[in-house]
Structures are given as C-alpha cells and as structure tokens.
C-alpha cells in the first residue's frame, strides 16, 4: 500500500479511509500489508507494517498538505519514489495498491520494476481539488499516466468514476467503485460533557447548530453555505453555523461571512483534533456538506453515525450511499436555505431523518466493503 498519511496525523478523510480499509483487510482476510508513508508515525498500527520514507515528524498542522503548487510536495514525492524503488527491489509483493496522485509515480515505478499488478485508488482528482479552475497540469498528467497504466482503478464513488471517464478518457469497464465506509467504533458519541459550552447553552435557548467540517478549500464550497446561511437567518434567526477546519481559503471564507453581515451567527474554529473535533459532530443539529466537487465525503458518514441530520451537495460521492439525507446542488443556495429552515423548524422531521441516516450509516462498514477488494485483487492476478 502506498499512502500519504495515516491517523492520528491526517489532514482529511484520506488517511482515515486508508487506515480503516487496511485494518479490515488484515483482520477479515488475513492480508499481509506493508504501508509506506512519507513521515515518521508516532504510533505504529499492529495490523500492518508501516515504512517511513523519512525520519521527519508528521507536520502537526496539515493546512495545505496537498497543495499541488507547492515545490516541497514535489521534492517529497521524489524521495518517496526512490524509497519505494529500493523497497520493491529488496522484498517481493503480490500487488501494489496506491492512493492518490502523490503516490502514483511510485506505484508506476514499482509496477515497471516488478511487473506486479498496480491498482490506482482514486480518492480525489486534480479536477476536484481545482474547483472551477484548470488545476495543476503536472498533477493532471501524473494522474493521467497512472490511470492509463494501472491494471485496475478503484474510485470512491460513481461521481468520481464519471470524472475519471469524462476528464481522463478512461474506459468505464476498468474502474470499480468501492465507496468509503466507517467503523462503528469511530462514531462520535456524546459520552462526556461536550466541549462546546457556548453552543450547549445556546441550544438550550432554542438555537440550532449547523456544522460544516472540512478543509477550507475551493473544493469544499463554503461560500455557498454562507450565502445560504444569510438567507436562512432572515427567516430563522436562531441558527448558529459552526465552520470547523482550516485551509488556503480561510481568509476568503471569513471575509465572505463578514461581508454578508452574519458573523454574529457564524463560528470559525480553525483546525481541530480529538475530542473537540468529535464534539463538533455531536453538538450538531445539522451537518452540511456544500462541496463543489467531493469524490466521497467521509465526514458525512461520521456525522450520520453521530445521529445528526445530514444535508449533502449532489456533487458528492457520499450522497450515493446516504439516501436518508437532504440533497441540493451546491449552487442552489435557496434550496439549501429552505432545507436548513425546514429541519430547524420541524423537530419531528429532524428526528426521523437523523434516525434513518444513522441506521443507514451503521451498515456502511469496512468489514462489509472489503470483499470487493479481495475480488479485485484476484481479478488482476495478485
């Protein structure tokens, strides 16, 4: 397995997905997995061997970790390729399974050196990351090559599969969709007192908390949520919007809220971890994912697991598997505002969809999912 991050040092869903996927593969199918990451991990998982390319500690704040414009990222990538070349010349593997563009070059080299099957697992494409912009041509090319030469491609959703077909010209038959999943143990539960004391008190006064959680990047569509918030607040002033995360768009997002004149009802937490991060799910009455282009959207599963009403942009992969949700096109702020007001004003509706989506999420476990990988590995002769 070639990856770029693992918990607890993850900047987004990629590390969590890799970790849980490997755990289930190792546990249910007795697979012997070796996992390569660029940094040194503070904790070693028991179920697989982790190789670190460098002794550098994982950066604590992962803001802009995947900024494809950064020269550092390209240097790290070269070191990563060299490391994997050595690794495959020393040991024998049955297959190489690489996660996203940062590891694709290494995956291609491993395939070239060993002749073993190469599986390209696409969690996000440059097309998603760039939002409406053209994106980084070099990254696009790396993705293009990897997708062409891969023996099999895994896409995290039909949404992503369509992008791979449409934007990269890859035949649909080569792409297998495996939706991300979640481990029940990872559900945030309200066991201890919630750390958001302010919000707890405001909720007691009748306020509803709308949470959005993710990197503040173009792809995540936060300005659309804020514009919808402005509309919603005009009809229902007892709403508080909690924006959790950090990223390259932070300044724009904060300025948008200020320009809309809604900062009294908006909270920016910055980057959170651990209990504060989990408490963001449990304090939520509603979870909104306003993404412009979201290959999957693991945080929506976590929110559903926590028993929150979930509102998803149709431009997301997770809306293919969470049906008991409110859905909207990311640009349709009137619709989103209506959905927020409706849920806020109708406790019965809120309770119903929160319960149903929680049930739905409880079946989307990695243990139920990984049989698909087993089949895929067999199919490419691994």
């Amino acid at each position: 397995m070639l990856g770029w991050e693992l918990p607890p040092h993850n900047s987004g869903g990629l590390g969590v997905a890799c970790y849980n996927m490997c755990q289930s593969l190792a546990k249910c199918h007795n697979l012997d997995i070796e996992f390569v990451v660029p940094y040194k991990l503070s904790e070693q998982p028991e179920f697989m061997t982790v190789h670190s390319v460098t002794d550098l500690p994982t950066p604590q704040v992962a803001q802009g970790a995947y900024n494809s414009q950064s020269p550092e990222v390209h240097a790290q990538q070269e070191a990563y390729v060299a490391f994997v070349e050595k690794l495959v010349s020393r040991n024998t593997y049955d297959a190489v399974h690489a996660h996203d563009w940062l590891t694709f070059r290494a995956g291609l080299r491993a395939k070239a050196l060993t002749g073993k099957p190469f599986i390209a697992h696409v969690h996000a494409t440059e097309f998603d990351r760039a939002g409406a912009n053209p994106g980084n041509q070099l990254v696009h090319e790396i993705e293009q090559q990897a997708l062409l030469f891969a023996d099999a491609i895994v896409a995290v959703s039909n949404f992503t599969k369509d992008i791979i077909v449409r934007e990269y010209g890859i035949p649909a038959s080569k792409i297998q969709v495996v939706h991300n999943a979640i481990n029940p143990a990872d559900y945030a539960t309200l066991s201890l007192q919630n750390d958001y004391r302010y919000l707890t008190e405001m909720k007691a006064l009748g306020y509803k908390v709308v949470v959005s959680l993710g990197r503040l990047s173009l792809q995540k569509g936060l300005p659309h949520l804020l514009r919808a918030a402005k509309l919603a607040l005009q009809k229902q002033p007892k709403l508080i919007f909690l924006i959790v995360g950090d990223g390259e768009m932070r300044a724009d997002v904060i300025e948008t809220a200020a320009n809309l004149g809604i900062t009294k009802n908006v909270i920016f937490t910055g980057f959170l971890r651990g209990k504060q991060w989990r408490d963001s799910y449990t304090i939520a009455d509603m979870f909104v994912m306003p993404s412009v282009s979201e290959p999957f959207g693991l945080s929506a599963l976590e929110a559903a697991g926590a028993g929150t009403a979930v509102l998803l942009s149709k431009q997301s992969g997770v809306c293919e598997v969470l049906r008991h949700t409110m859905q909207f096109d990311f640009w349709d702020i009137t619709k989103l505002a209506n959905q927020i007001i409706t849920i806020a004003n109708h406790p019965v509706l809120h309770a119903e969809i929160a319960k149903n989506v929680q049930n739905e999420a409880s079946n989307l476990t990695w243990d139920n999912t990984i049989a698909k990988f087993q089949k895929l590995y067999a199919g490419v002769g691994a």
Partner: protein, 405 residues
C-alpha cells in the same frame, strides 16, 4: 523671528485579547492575555523598560535644565491601569513631570475607543471616566481634547466646544487645509471659543517614522539639520506642532538608532535661536490667535497614507464586530454587572479593530508590527469568540431576570 514647538506625545497600551477559542466561550470569560510573551503584563514591563523609563528620565532632565522646555501628553486609562499594576514607578515618573507645571495632560476616551462614531453617550461617559482618572492620579483637569487616533470632524469640534474644551487637535492634512499651512492656530467651523491645532506631519513623521530609516535621504537626522528646517520656514509660520506616539522613543525607534540622544539635544539646539520656545498646547492657545476657520465634514485621523478611519473600519470584519460591540450597549449597562461593563469597554479599544486591518496585509508593514496575532483573520476569530461569550453573559443575565420574574 521666534518660533514655538508644541511637542505632544501620546501614550497608550490596550488590553490585548488572548487566543480566545470558541471552547473558552461560556466557560472562561477572561479574554485578556495573561501569560507568555504576548501577555499584557509582559508587554507593559517590556515597553516600560525600553521606552517609558528612559524617555521619562530624559524629559525630567530637560525640564530641569531648560525653563523654556515644555510638552503635552495624553495617557489612556487602559495604560494607567496597567501601569498601576505592573510598573507603578512609571506613574510616579509621569507625576514628577506633571508636577513641574510644564507638562499638560490632554483629555480623551478612557478606553482609546471609537465611541464618538457609534454612541455619543458612551463617548461622553468615557471622556468623563478619563477626566476623573487624570484628576485622581495627577490632580489636574485636562482642558484640551484629543480623540482616538486624532480622529476628528466638525461634529467633534462642536461637541468639544460645547463641553468647554479650549482646544482640540488633529492631523494637519492637506485635504482639510487646502492651501493653508498647519503652522498656525485655527478655529473649527460652527464653534465659539475652541481652537484647533494641527499636526505638522512632515516634521513629526521625520522623527516618528523616518528617524531610524537608513534608506531615507536625510538619514542620519541631526538636531542641527532638523532645527535648521524649522528655522527656515516662512517667517510668519511660528507654531510647529510635533505630535507623535510616545513609544516613538525606545519602542518604535530603538535606542541604538540614537533617538534618545536626538530628544536630549533637541531643546538645546532649538533654543539657541533667540525667542524660540516650547509650549504646552494650552499655552499656545493662549498665545496665538486663529488665522482662519476650518471645515472638516469628513472624519480624518493621523493614520496611514489615507488619514481616515479605514485602518479600523475599512473592512467588513471590523465593521461587523464594532457594530456588535455597540449594539449591546443598553443591555450591558442595564446589567449593572461591573466586570461585564468593564470587559465590554475594554473590547471597545480601537487597537482590536486595527489588528483586523487587511490593508497591505501582505507587505508585513506597520500594522503587522503592532499586532500580537499571526494574521488579521486570527485577530477577528479571537475577538469574535470573546464577543460571543459576552453576548452569552448578557443572555444569561436576561434569562436569570426572567426566571426571577
């Protein structure tokens, strides 16, 4: 021909808001930096060491040696309180200066706030609080007004005139002066008795901003050169108003720039010319007659190249938060909760909004130098979170009231 220098120094420190997160809101209502290198105590102690003590020592010497040396000071309430806690000897130094009778203290808002533009009532209360504090500490009553950041317009002049102030000061900016020179006494439009003194920004900024700048054409600035400039002004321009931050000495311009030597030598050099003297603002008002009436419909300040309020109220983060702090006025005061009212007033200090300024944010300029935060967005986040806690305290008060009723 004789000339007069009115040296006026502004002394101020805010209560800086700590990295206050949303998790603090509702739990801990202490908004102020209390430990580490950004703590208010640390900054007061540092600035006292680098600027207040050495500058006061020089000023004391100068007052002792030159009977024609005098100056004016404005000291905010937020600074006086913090000095009393962490550097009380500096207050004693200031008292010694004032006791000479040749150091005038100006009136202003206790909290260095922008209240004049948002709540006339609160503005008046803060000016009164400051007056009371100055009387308590120094035993004098201010007769000349300066508003925060020398912000000024016709309405303020009218207010100050009716309130009985004999003088008011602001920036000598060409936009209000037109063809006129700042080196005269003026009268604001629609007023009866009050006089307007204008900062000579070229000569003031030569010291305050350009003194240590080695890229400046006139570097190094000597007292000979400087007094030569003043003495070469047209003969009828007699009143030279040098207005600047007190922290120019030792904090904005560091000791190794030679700023203290410059201050030490300035009176001797200037007083070499017969008839030249230093005056307090009140003395100048008693000495010089106004030459013209000035109209200032739009607010000006002494900040940035725009000389307006955009450093404090130029973007939506600033206007949103300032609006929120003033819209709670009635509730806050009705709460009769002393700590709450005090926190509310400390949050009005203009510096908080200055830290959120995004003008030339990328240039790492003067704004960044004064900010204790990584960026204007951090400043906004912390301040907003503190506001949310304050709003929650108000909600609790009103809920409590309802339950009792």
């Amino acid at each position: 021909m004789s000339r007069t220098i009115c040296l006026y120094l502004h002394v101020h420190q805010p209560y800086r808001v700590r990295g206050y997160t949303i998790f603090d809101a509702g739990v801990d209502s202490n908004y102020w930096f209390s430990d580490g290198l950004a703590s208010n105590e640390y900054i007061i102690r540092k600035v006292a060491e680098k600027s207040y003590r050495p500058t006061n020592a020089v000023l004391k010497d100068l007052l002792m040696h030159y009977k024609d040396f005098s100056l004016s000071l404005s000291i905010t309430g937020t600074l006086l309180e913090q000095l009393q806690k962490w550097a009380p000897d500096v207050i004693d130094d200031f008292k010694t200066l004032v006791a000479t009778g040749r150091v005038e203290i100006l009136a202003e808002t206790f909290y260095h706030s922008l209240a004049f533009f948002y709540s006339r009532d609160e503005f008046e209360r803060q000016v009164d609080m400051h007056k009371q504090k100055i009387q308590d500490v120094f035993g004098v009553t201010p007769g000349v007004l300066r508003n925060t950041e020398l912000s000024y317009n016709d309405d303020l002049a009218v207010w100050a005139d009716q309130a009985g102030y004999k003088g008011i000061i602001t920036e000598g900016w060409p936009a209000i002066l037109d063809w006129r020179s700042p080196n005269f006494m003026y009268r604001p439009v629609n007023t009866k008795n009050i006089r307007l003194l204008l900062k000579n920004y070229k000569l003031s900024d030569d010291i305050a901003f350009r003194f240590g700048d080695r890229n400046c054409r006139e570097w190094p600035l000597t007292t000979e050169k400087y007094c030569h400039w003043i003495n070469s002004l047209p003969l009828d321009q007699q009143l030279i108003n040098l207005f600047m931050d007190y922290e120019t000495f030792g904090e904005h311009q560091w000791e190794d720039s030679g700023i203290f030597d410059f201050l030490r030598q300035l009176p001797a050099e200037f007083l070499k010319t017969d008839g030249n003297k230093f005056m307090t603002l009140s003395q100048a008002i008693d000495t010089y007659q106004p030459v013209d009436v000035l109209h200032t419909p739009r607010t000006i300040t002494w900040a940035d190249s725009e000389r307006d309020l955009t450093a404090w109220l130029g973007n939506a983060m600033q206007t949103e938060t300032v609006k929120q702090i003033y819209e709670t006025e009635k509730q806050v005061l009705a709460s009769k909760d002393k700590t709450l009212i005090e926190d509310w007033r400390r949050l009005q200090t203009s510096d908080h909004f200055y830290y959120m300024c995004t003008k030339w944010f990328n240039d790492g300029d003067v704004h960044a130098y004064f900010s204790p935060y990584g960026s204007p967005y951090d400043a906004f986040m912390y301040y907003s979170n503190a506001l949310k806690d304050l709003q929650l305290r108000l909600l609790r008060t009103s809920q409590g009231g309802k339950e009792q009723a």
